[in-house]
């Protein structure tokens, strides 16, 4: 709070800290809050996929309803599912509440950062949570399932697919978070999230759906399909799977499409 008589403060001074630092500040806040609430975050991330893994991978296997190789097919699917869903939830729910009730995001909208970059930060933050959510499934899968064998040479491609899948999830979360009113969020989660959960080719291989063509078409519209199928191609190539380049291309298109709609929606909500 310097006195105004000191060295005349002329013309526009340097435009603040530079948007890079502001971006890191906003991202740092979100990460710090996640760190503080780590316990609830980790349980939110683990509980649902753990039960899916346990029932489909272990219980049904022991009862003889699924063949022994099923766990091998299921684990990549669950990694894909968690990458996308944890990202969607991390972005969508807080935004619905922020924009409609608490307005807590306003202070970040007033940071010296373009509003689009605040939206990008939301996608990146959601993606980081999604990525973390999917990575913690790896040790869980190894502990719960006994017959997991991965082709380690596929790890770099798998990592790239998970990053893209998380980003697509974060962007999809931004679309939901900025377009859905809080009164409808429950309905949206029920009618959008549940179908996404079961049409992402997480519990079955996409290419073997030939006899259920209509269902295969629906699955082809779900971005999670391309993460699941891509991961199978990279880690468990013996399971029938879509070609890697198709998966990468489809995920890039998802990121671009959801990103563009989500960022537009965000700017519309942030600025009157």
């Amino acid at each position: 709070m310097s006195a105004p008589t000191a060295a005349p403060r002329t013309a526009p001074r340097q435009a603040g800290p530079g948007q890079g630092r502001a971006f890191l500040g906003v991202l740092g806040r979100d990460l710090a809050v996640t760190g503080k609430e780590f316990g609830s975050f980790i349980s939110q991330v683990l509980v649902q996929p753990f039960f899916l893994l346990f029932v489909f991978g272990v219980v049904l296997g022991q009862l003889g309803y699924v063949t022994p190789g099923y766990a091998q097919l299921l684990l990549p699917g669950l990694l894909a599912l968690n990458a996308f869903f944890v990202a969607v939830q991390a972005t969508a729910l807080p935004l619905v509440i922020d924009f409609s009730y608490t307005k807590e995001i306003e202070d970040r909208l007033l940071a010296p950062l373009s509003t689009r970059l605040v939206a990008v930060e939301k996608i990146v933050f959601g993606a980081l949570r999604g990525l973390f959510g999917s990575l913690v499934m790896i040790p869980v899968g190894y502990l719960v399932l006994d017959e997991v064998a991965w082709d380690l040479a596929g790890l770099p491609l798998a990592a790239l697919l998970l990053v893209l899948g998380s980003l697509a999830g974060g962007a999809a979360g931004l679309v939901i978070g900025t377009l859905v009113s809080p009164r409808r969020i429950n309905v949206v989660f029920a009618v959008v999230i549940t179908p996404l959960l079961f049409t992402g080719s997480t519990q079955f291989p996409f290419l073997q759906l030939g006899n259920l063509r209509w269902f295969q078409v629906i699955c082809a519209l779900n971005p999670i399909t391309y993460v699941s199928e891509g991961l199978r191609g990279a880690l468990t190539p013996s399971v029938p799977h879509l070609a890697g380049w198709i998966c990468l291309l489809a995920l890039l298109v998802s990121c671009a499409l959801f990103g563009a709609i989500g960022i537009r929606g965000f700017v519309r909500r942030a600025i009157d």
Binding site: R29, E37, P112
Partner: protein, 337 residues
């Protein structure tokens, strides 16, 4: 700041002072397809170090104007600058030099009080090493030193408001915008907020505040712009606005023992009296309102003399100096919104 209602504090004039801290020219904002603009050709300029009040009834366009200036509302046309930066052309640069205290509390409830300040500083690129010391210093100044680790949910309305002001100051803004800063606060909290605003102005920060509270505007603002229907109706120091009111001061008299016609004749004859109204109505005692050209005190003695000459006994005298409220009502009317 005892004289803030008259003129700006005297400061050496520099070339720098020529550029206003905030400038709004022919600003128009129309929401969606609504026929009537929320802001309709508003123009004003705020000098550096000034406390500027935007006064108007609810829905007058004050908050929209502040919204445009703080980059949260896009203008339809016109020009708006803060510290010389065009807020629509370069909102990012504008955000670096302005601070905002919004009408509704919007503290980050995932963080404690100190966290709200420290992270705000991080968004604004304050070096990591300075953030915490700065936060503690501002918590101290705002009387919140013992609330550093409290969650915003557990703060009272006044404490939350002070924390929001502290947050707005963390990045050393050149202009601080306060939207209805003391709405809903108890008298102690209001006074505390008023003192902090006066302190800020004294330290050279330009303050723009919106309010529908006349007393607050008269007390805090160097100059007041009265706004209604998105237009500026008057702009001056509070005292000049009051002085321009027709009718000036009043003396209300309650008396008995003489008829009204005689009394009115006698009082009207006194020099400096603009008129006498009979407000008796159904009351048993006569009740007169005397309008004076100058100060009420100056003509009180001759008026009372004239009343005594008429043989009346005065039971009650009430002097009324016009306030900003009278100016406000005079300009914006009595109708409810």
């Amino acid at each position: 700041m005892s004289s803030q209602t008259t003129t700006l504090p005297a400061r050496p004039a520099t070339a720098d002072d020529a550029e206003p801290a905030v400038e709004v020219a022919d600003l128009v904002k129309r929401y969606g397809r609504s026929s009537r603009p929320a802001v309709d050709g508003l123009s004003f300029a705020v000098r550096r170090g000034e406390v500027f009040g935007l006064l108007g009834p609810n829905g007058a366009g004050k908050t929209t104007t502040v919204g445009v200036l703080t980059t949260r509302v896009t203008k339809t046309s016109g020009r708006a600058t803060v510290a010389g930066i065009d807020v629509s052309a370069d909102p990012v640069a504008a955000r670096a030099v302005l601070g905002v205290v919004p009408q509704r509390p919007n503290l980050d409830r995932s963080l404690d009080a100190r966290g709200n300040l420290v992270w705000h500083a991080a968004y604004h690129g304050v070096p990591r090493a300075r953030r915490r010391a700065l936060a503690d210093e501002l918590l101290e100044r705002m009387g919140l030193a013992d609330k550093a680790t409290t969650n915003p949910d557990e703060l009272s309305g006044g404490q939350a408001q002070r924390l929001i002001i502290a947050r707005g100051l963390m990045h050393d803004p050149r202009v601080l915008f306060l939207d209805e800063p003391s709405t809903g606060l108890d008298p102690q909290a209001r006074l505390f907020v008023h003192d902090r605003v006066a302190e800020l102005a004294a330290s050279g920060v330009t303050v723009v505040l919106t309010t529908h509270d006349m007393d607050e505007a008269a007390k805090l603002a160097d100059r007041v712009g009265i706004v209604d229907h998105g237009r500026l109706l008057a702009l001056d120091t509070p005292s000049a606005l009051v002085a321009a009111l027709p009718g000036e001061a009043t003396i209300d008299l309650t008396l008995t023992g003489a008829d009204v016609a005689t009394l009115r004749g006698r009082i009207d004859a006194v020099r400096g009296i603009a008129g006498v109204e009979d407000l008796t109505g159904e009351r048993p005692d006569t009740h007169l309102r005397v309008r004076c050209d100058g100060e009420a005190g100056a003509v009180l003695a001759p008026v009372l003399g004239a009343v005594a000459d008429a043989g009346a006994t005065v039971s009650e005298v009430d002097l009324g100096e016009p306030t900003l409220e009278d100016v406000f009502i005079d300009l914006t009317g009595r109708g409810l919104r």
